[in-house]
């Protein structure tokens, strides 16, 4: 079947097309060049419409144990937001942490066609993949979490060479079916277990004698050397601590030019100036990002309202539990791997700190020059549920709207931000870079995030509207792998996305030391730890897409 999308205004940064009218042809799920003689089976007239590839959320907590802990902790989040079944969609519920099916539908209804879970604990990777397997329409993938696991820390204490660490990282990625590696509060989650309640970049883990700087260095090197496209995904030290802007700047300097992605950087950009000893470090951070081309970031914007924070950073979540609203929270250790903390939050525009957090995120968006190195996230659900993205896009694209909202927040926070003076408004092309082409490039997805021939036909069509929130809330059409899944912001058919992975090589002898470690310390045997392809594909709806390593020919 040949589908023709006629006359849309195309924004495809991947091939440098910025708002040009052109036709797109879809055949067998992929975008194809204009066929010379084939008959068009179905044509969509998109004259005057905006066409982009399907959006990709490169950091969203949609799978893994902490989501279920959040759901269990917040039954009211589900009671207050029921979603009924329809003939083609299943029922579900939830505002801050929706159920899996609702997650897929809501993402698709905003024009998203892929989401990546950034915190897959190796020991819980099977559950994370099974949960993501229940998210319809979206493609998905996971970044496996390392850095606070006892095995790596033992290797560092024992001064194992980089090659051994590379093997361990590659082996873990393959075993857990990951496409990236994330480190959360490097070594801090482990230090928490040895009763440390904070851990700075150069502070030693009291048991292992290893510093976060060491961990970042070896992991970033490993990710680069084994050829994984997505740079080390870093949730840094001191999340949420006033003054952590210095830690973040030191982290950028300390990585010594290696590729590194700093995630939800808004939470890591706080100074200590002003009457409340809390100020914006966004300008310094943005300057450092602009200068260091090896660094990419996503923002982790907060937006006002009720949500829940779910993080592997048990150290910082424990410290923040007194802010829990409603007043209930969970933190836990997870075997020898890491930890977990779930703290519900209500961000309030009349709260000085929250209001300034909001402004810091926006400052970061607007002060970082290169849209290829900054990504639109709320760190769902930590800053806000992903359903608030259209509102966030409007804040970025519409200065007068932004200033209107700014004038309503806590007055002291207004004084502490330079936001009102920033004139920049994001363009459609820049939004397309941040949410599509850039994200696909960052993660290393081949055949996604672009609209040139050969790409999978993940396509979103919007009606141009100066109210960007309305525009991005309700796409006219969304195609996933060439199948029309959304019309006028409502799911009209469903399908199953694929799971994106990479398969870096390792020396099989790595398992010798690991087997002994598993037998002695973990609840699971090594053989069971490794996830086979069948586990993802055998139900007939999941599939695995392997992406090339750097230097490989696609």
């Amino acid at each position: 079947m040949l589908i023709k999308l006629t006359g849309g205004t195309v924004y495809d940064p991947a091939s440098g097309i910025d708002g040009q009218q052109q036709d797109i042809y879809i055949k067998d799920g992929r975008i194809v060049a204009m066929p010379t003689d084939a008959v068009v089976d179905k044509e969509y007239d998109l004259k005057g419409k905006v066409v982009m590839s399907g959006a990709i959320d490169m950091h969203t907590h949609i799978g893994g144990g902490k989501g279920n802990i959040a759901r269990t902790l917040l039954p009211e989040d589900h009671r207050q937001d029921p979603v009924h079944r329809s003939d083609i969609t299943r029922s579900g519920c939830g505002h801050a942490m929706p159920s899996t099916f609702v997650t897929g539908y809501r993402y698709a209804e905003m024009g998203y066609t892929a989401g990546f879970e950034p915190a897959v604990l190796p020991i819980n990777a099977r559950q994370a993949h099974m949960e993501m397997a229940d998210i319809p329409i979206l493609d998905k993938g996971g970044y496996v979490m390392l850095g606070s696991d006892d095995y790596l820390l033992r290797m560092l204490t024992a001064k194992k060479d980089q090659k051994a660490i590379n093997d361990y990282v590659a082996w873990t990625m393959q075993s857990a079916k990951a496409i990236g590696v994330k480190v959360v509060n490097p070594g801090g989650i482990n230090a928490f277990k040895f009763n440390q309640r904070k851990l700075d970049l150069d502070e030693q883990n009291s048991h292992y004698g290893v510093t976060p700087r060491d961990i970042l260095q070896v992991l970033a090197t490993a990710v680069k050397e084994i050829g994984v496209s997505h740079p080390l995904h870093v949730h840094g030290c001191n999340l949420g601590v006033p003054g952590n802007v210095q830690t973040t700047l030191d982290t950028i300097q300390g990585i010594g030019g290696l590729p590194m992605h700093l995630t939800h950087i808004q939470f890591h950009s706080y100074g200590t100036e002003g009457d409340f000893k809390f100020s914006s470090g966004a300008a310094q951070i943005a300057e450092a990002i602009n200068r260091n081309k090896n660094i990419t970031i996503d923002v982790g914007q907060i937006l006002f309202g009720q949500t829940v924070t779910a993080s592997g950073d048990s150290m910082r979540q424990h410290a923040n539990h007194k802010h829990a609203s409603p007043n209930k929270w969970v933190t836990m250790d997870i075997e020898c791997d890491a930890g977990c903390g779930v703290v519900p939050f209500k961000y309030k525009d009349q709260n000085f700190v929250n209001a300034l957090q909001w402004a810091i995120g926006l400052e970061t968006f607007l002060l970082v020059n290169d849209p290829w190195r900054i990504f639109l996230t709320t760190d769902h659900p930590n800053g806000a549920p992903f359903t608030s993205y259209p509102h966030l896009i409007r804040l970025l694209m519409d200065r007068s709207f932004r200033n209107d909202v700014l004038s309503t927040i806590h007055p002291e926070a207004q004084k502490m931000t330079s936001l009102a003076s920033i004139e920049r408004e994001y363009t459609l092309q820049e939004i397309a870079i941040m949410t599509r082409a850039g994200a696909a490039r960052l993660i290393g997805l081949k055949d996604r995030g672009g609209l040139s021939a050969g790409n999978w036909a993940d396509i979103t069509v919007y009606t141009d509207n100066t109210d960007r929130q309305k525009m991005f809330e309700k796409p006219d059409y969304v195609f996933k792998d060439g199948q029309l899944v959304v019309v006028d912001g409502k799911v009209v058919s469903t399908k199953w996305g694929t799971t994106h992975v990479v398969r870096p090589d390792y020396d099989p002898s790595v398992e010798k030391g690991l087997k002994d470690y598993f037998d002695r310390y973990l609840t699971m045997k090594l053989g069971n730890f490794k996830i086979s392809d069948d586990e993802i594909t055998e139900d007939g709806r999941g599939s695995i897409t392997v992406h090339p390593l750097k230097g490989e020919v696609a």
Partner: protein, 270 residues
């Protein structure tokens, strides 16, 4: 005007959500409109006039006759007016009651007066578990008003209770007053195990000596001047609580739960 009366024609096979039949939602509706309201029952939606014979016209005075224990959410978030239930009521009776009065002649199910805000609930029979409690996961149960139960109540009465009075003429089950933040629960009959489990503040007023956990401290015998005032406030009730002969002002006082904030009190008649 005569009371708007719903008489149940048959006992439905599945539970029925009766939450649309509250005074403030029916105020401007004709009988035909009311008859056409759809009620969720399992997978089905039933018309009100399919399930009930409807008579009368005063939507601020609702009577439900032949009521059974599978009619749930009677008087949900009632905001003024009166509902009288002849027979039993199901779960979540008077859920989130805002104001007004609900009376039931028979027994009621789980979570009666769950997260009630204000108003008055009277149950002539027994009440199930979680009377005046919070929904699972929520932190605040009953926030005000008065509940009178003439029979016995199940477990966890007043769980997470915040304010108001629960008056029980009969016995209370285990965990009575668990996780209370404030408010008063009075029990004339016996109480079960784990009385006041994890209570922070609030008062449990008892006529019979309870079995107390080790985390409650005996604070000795007291004569409390506020008790006659409290009993006087029950005078208008259609209850043994209104009877001057049951009142007392001399109590043994226990403080707890010391594993929590420990500012709650159990007062036992001496």
């Amino acid at each position: 005007m005569s009371a708007l009366t719903f008489t149940l024609k048959y006992k439905p096979a599945q539970r029925v959500d009766l939450s649309p039949l509250v005074c403030h939602q029916l105020a401007d509706l004709s009988l035909a409109d009311i008859g056409a309201i759809l009620l969720q029952s399992g997978k089905l939606k039933l018309r009100v006039d399919e399930l009930f014979t409807i008579e009368g016209s005063d939507t601020q005075d609702i009577v439900i006759n032949n009521s059974t224990d599978n009619l749930d959410f009677i008087g949900k978030e009632l905001d003024g007016g009166r509902i009288s239930v002849n027979g039993d009521a199901g779960a979540y009776l008077a859920f989130g009651l805002k104001s007004g009065e609900i009376k039931v002649s028979g027994n009621v199910g789980l979570y009666a007066a769950c997260e009630m805000k204000k108003g008055y609930l009277e149950v002539s029979g027994n009440a199930g578990d979680f009377l005046g409690a919070a929904l699972p996961g929520n932190k605040m149960g009953m926030k005000g008003g008065t509940i009178l139960v003439k029979g016995n109540v199940g477990e966890r009465a007043g769980d997470h209770m915040r304010r108001g009075n629960i008056l029980i003429e009969g016995n209370a089950g285990d965990y009575c007053g668990s996780r209370m933040t404030a408010g008063t629960i009075a029990v004339m009959g016996r109480t079960g195990r784990y009385l006041g489990y994890a209570m922070r503040r609030g008062t449990l007023l008892l006529w019979n000596q309870p079995t107390l956990s080790a985390s409650f401290n005996d604070c000795g015998a007291h004569t409390l001047a506020f008790l006659p005032i409290l009993f006087a406030s029950f005078k208008s009730l259609n209850s043994r609580f209104a009877d001057a002969s049951i009142a007392f002002n001399r109590v043994q006082r226990y403080a707890g739960d010391m594993s929590e904030m420990g500012r709650g009190e159990v007062l036992v008649k001496l």
